[in-house]
């Protein structure tokens, strides 16, 4: 991993890598929210000012960000990645 901060222990590094992998796939507004609020630790007022949003919009974005991080990794995929295999024999009664 390309992380070298002395303060970062292995569990934290693992968690950060997983979370960052997910965050990178999120829309720009959610990625920006994660970066500013979680990574940089900026307070809500500063984030609102920089992003030109009001407090309610911040709450909405923050809630969406949390839900996306809670979602199962492949839950958003609409189609299976591999073709489904059919049952080899038609199910017939004996």
């Amino acid at each position: 991993m390309a992380m070298n901060a002395a303060a970062m222990n292995q569990p934290s590094a693992s968690r950060l890598a997983r979370v960052m992998a997910r965050v990178e796939s999120l829309p720009d507004d959610l990625r920006s929210m994660f970066d500013q609020s979680i990574i940089r630790g900026r307070p809500k007022a500063a984030v609102c000012q920089e992003s030109q949003i009001d407090g309610a919009a911040f709450d909405d974005l923050y809630s969406r960000l949390m839900r996306e991080l809670k979602r199962e990794p492949h839950a958003r995929l609409a189609l299976p990645q591999v073709p489904r295999l059919r049952f080899p024999f038609p199910p017939t009664k004996p």
């Binding site: 992380m3 970062m8 997983r18 911040f58 990794p73």
Partner: protein, 171 residues
Amino acid sequence: MTKPSEGWDNPVVLDDIELYHFATEGERKLAASLIRSSIEDMVLLQKVGTAERTLSRNVTVEELRVSREWVASNGGVLSFEECCTICAPDMDWRAVQQAILMDPAGALERIRKQNSIIVDNDVALPQTQAEIARGDEPITMGRLAMGLLHMIQGDLDFGQEEESAYRPMAF
């Protein structure tokens, strides 16, 4: 806890200051935020179910169910168990999980009404507009952890002296 995951080999491009901040504060803010938002979503889901509340345009019932599923399945990119461990290493996460699933409104009340003075490296969560409008104190990771601990262990187990000695975030 540190099982291999999809992100293990993912290069993380952050400078040392950002890494230090995540390790010392950001991770705890994230863990506590995930737990708090789950409880809030579950309470809202209950209220929508009983027609006590209606949903705003940008939220659906399916979205709210993501939070309940996260708590129940202990899955996701950062699991409920990990979040509990980050907030309070000695907390019985399974008991907390059951308590939240059984009574999310009670859990939310515990967190909001938690008045313990515990300040070791505590991290404040962003205050929502609703909390500001009600004049609530900001929810911190320590208050959230202590509220959940009280919920699973009961108030009788925590005398005033014991409370100040037991600091779940002091690690």
